[in-house]
Symmetry: C2
Subunit: 503 residues, 2 copies
């Protein structure tokens, strides 16, 4: 039986979570349906809501109740103990940044984002440089305010905001073998002379057919449309407002239904995670997702490990032929499977394939880590970017818009965020190996369109725990091992070498 | 120069208005895009938001600042003075209901609404009776808490929430001549033997064509889509979130594009009002709509006085032929104009034509006034309803679902609301007579698709003032007269008699 303080705290936090869910809805609307004229009022609405949420989350009362929970004899290892631990973590962290710093960050972010847009449009880094410079300075200050564990480095303080418990040193240790082996694999693929036909990525498909197809796929893998939506936005995203209401978006290009499919499978992965968090725990840490890395493991898992597998297409091709007869007339399982696994170095991260993608991330991780350490100034970012890009991916960056100006993250102060994308890929592969060991032949299930066993396994092992276990601990509990690069390399080599005729 | 207290109060109230605009958005989403599973979380979001808005609006600080404004020498007759007057009115009214009463109302409303739905589905008033009985009791209590001016009656206290300054006695005085004359006109029409062809109301029109057509019409009359939206909901409504963001909805029936047009014209009228409130005054009374009656004068004005006029169709028919060629192939200005003005007694208020509609309203006004006076108990409602329905409209109510169970208002505790619909019709006709006097031949403008002069006149005379003048005062300022039934009767007789071949 939880004590009085715990009960009161849980009630307070639930109300704050309800208010935060309104903020989520308002952001969703901004990206989907808000008319252009609504932007000014919207910015006031968002500022007010996030202010109210912050005020509640950092109130003295919450702090006092957290302290009082310590005297209520909550059994260690229990869900309640995990909630108090995480509430304390969030509370302490949220109170570490002084108000003036938060305000300066917010102002700088607005300006930097605006200037970044202009700089990218002009492909002229010099326009963005002073703003990046300022942002690096502010991020370094944030890191100092947050602090980091002994033996760590400032970057860890930022990472903690996205991947609690992770450190730069660990990540570097996991990434290092990947960098060499991935570069080698990509070179071998380039040299193979094999270039699968990409017809399915270049043909016009009517919008209605595209929509029917991606909705069919999302339903099939288990996104519940009665508890969620799929809409359209410039940049696909997924927002789990709370139990029974998860909103994801995708985008449609006239001539590439597979782009819409990938986005939809990806966001469905996020959505399935959100939809299977324990509803009764909404508003508590054990009712929320663990970390961005684990979230990304779900989206990447469904997008790549399921959606780019041969087994998936053995099941899917007949349905695709029914829903998009013109596109699919001359296509086969082999042709679609190969087209979905084309590997080719390219400039833009968000358009990169499954293999090259991680090199894009590693480059960003290294650069931002150096920025936060004080080893890399804004001015040197383009040179350093282009140099590493050539090293890892073998191509020369032709312009800043195709290089260090392509992502909004740094303008937005999201440093420490990028590595979670590759952590997600790594977790996904390691989790799927464990799932295969425990569930048997996943591919045989996929071939029959049976995705429920995998989904239920993910719920049982990951979703239902919320933040009960930190990402690293979760990984060990599920797979018996620390996170490693091996499963990802096994997956990529195992899949890509046969397609490209490599030994 | 406004003083310190005024400035601070305005800032506080603006923030409350921003929060209230979030509540509006959340309600809009609930009617348009929310997935079914989101209902439970949504009810928590709404309860929390409306609680926060109420808390802010009724805070001691607001009350103190309002009092302090009195000492700041605000010139009487100024916009600031009007704001303080209205703030005080809202504040005093909001604080009159004790918390327990508000909570009981809210509980009763949820249950009554639910039971009303079941009763309507079964067309069995006895199921709803105890809930209506309870609601009457609560409404009578509300009236007591609010109080009413000397010489008035309890119903006035409720009316004040929707049509500030109006009284039951005044309304009855305005409605009385209407009742007799409208009944007579409707009888004459029924006896005329003329029944215009209703082909345009019965033929299937593809959804895309319907959408294009109603959007074209809304744009043409001046709804700004860059500052608003048109979506679909079961019951069309319009919600002005604030400057730059006004959301209206309509509905589409396969075989009646004119239904979608009427809804869209109606909601556009509301939308045009909201879009032309002074943006800089957002969050103050002088930036908000006056009353439901005046709001309805705008929607009814565009829907009926413009949208069912011959001049409108002289302009619109060629466009309709272009956008819906199959529907319009055999149609002419005469045929559409006549079809849009079919008058025929029917059971359901929301489907009633321009003439019979007001009799539906008068019946409800009389019944709810009697309920609040204590002269009519829930048990006697069906009998009283059916009797009057026969008297006014000449037809026997066949079942409760087609009679006193058709509207949700009473289950929701919206008593004092119904008369604003007919007040809207009356205001609209009286305003349009003034507009014709001042602008000249409005029909000549409509025939050319020129709706801007009328719209600008409405903005100049009504929209831009917000709540500066109460509805009655506004009416006198614009038309030089008290509200009367004459303009509405002149309008209906002038239009309908020729169509039905009456003298």
């Amino acid at each position: 039986m939880p004590g009085q303080a715990y009960t009161k705290l849980a009630e307070l936090q639930r109300r704050t979570a309800v208010l935060a869910s309104v903020d989520e809805l308002v952001h969703w609307d901004q990206e989907t349906y808000m008319p252009p004229g609504g932007a000014k009022l919207r910015s006031e609405q968002c500022a007010l809501l996030s202010g109210l949420v912050h005020e509640r989350a950092t109130s003295k009362e919450v702090g006092e109740l957290i302290e009082q929970c310590a005297g209520e004899g909550i059994p260690s290892g229990s869900i309640e103990a995990a909630n108090v631990r995480e509430w304390k973590r969030d509370y302490d962290r949220a109170r570490k940044l002084p108000r003036e710093h938060v305000e300066e960050l917010s102002r700088t972010r607005s300006i930097a984002q605006h200037e970044w847009q202009k700089a990218r449009a002009a492909s002229d880094f010099s326009k963005f440089e002073p703003h990046l410079d300022k942002m690096i300075d502010l991020m370094r200050k944030s890191a100092k305010y947050y602090g980091w564990p002994a033996g760590g480095e400032p970057y860890d303080a930022l990472l903690e905001g996205y991947e609690p418990g992770a450190t730069a040193a660990q990540i570097e240790k996991t990434f290092a073998p990947l960098r060499t082996r991935l570069s080698r694999l990509i070179q071998e693929i380039s040299a193979s002379g094999v270039r699968p036909d990409d017809a399915v990525h270049t043909r016009d498909v009517p919008r209605r057919q595209q929509e029917a197809f991606v909705r069919f796929a999302a339903s099939a893998i288990g996104f519940r449309f009665e508890d969620g939506r799929l809409d359209v936005s410039a940049h696909p995203f997924c927002s789990g407002l709370g139990p029974g209401d998860c909103r994801m978006t995708t985008r449609f290009r006239d001539n590439n239904v597979m782009d819409a499919l990938s986005s939809t499978m990806h966001e469905s992965g996020h959505g399935i995670y959100e939809q299977n968090l324990p509803a009764e725990a909404f508003g508590t840490p054990c009712g929320s997702a663990v970390s961005l890395g684990i979230h990304e493991s779900q989206s990447r898992g469904w997008e790549n490990l399921v959606g780019r597998s041969r087994a998936f297409w053995e099941w899917c091709v007949p349905h695709a032929k029914e829903l998009m007869p013109e596109l699919m007339a001359d296509q086969s399982v082999d042709s679609v499977y190969a087209a979905q696994n084309i590997v080719e170095p390219s400039y833009i991260r968000v358009e990169a394939d499954e293999a090259t993608y991680n090199l894009h991330i590693m480059l960003r991780f290294e650069l931002e880590r150096a920025m936060i350490r004080g080893d890399l100034s804004a001015r040197d970012v383009p040179r350093e970017w282009n140099k590493r890009f050539k090293d890892y991916l073998g191509i020369e960056v032709d312009k800043d818009a195709n290089g260090c100006l392509q992502d909004v993250h740094w303008a937005f102060g999201l440093m420490g965020y990028f590595p979670t994308y590759t952590l997600g890929n790594l977790y996904a592969c390691q989790f799927f190996e464990a799932a295969r060991e425990q569930l048997g032949d996943l591919d045989a299930m996929f071939r029959k369109g049976e995705f429920a066993p995998l989904r239920q396994w993910l719920t049982e092992n990951i979703h239902r725990h919320g933040r009960r276990y930190a990402a690293g601990e979760l990984c060990k509990r599920i797979t018996g091992k620390e996170l490693s690069a091996e499963p990802l390399m096994r997956h990529l080599e195992g899949k890509l070498k046969p397609i490209y005729g490599l030994a």
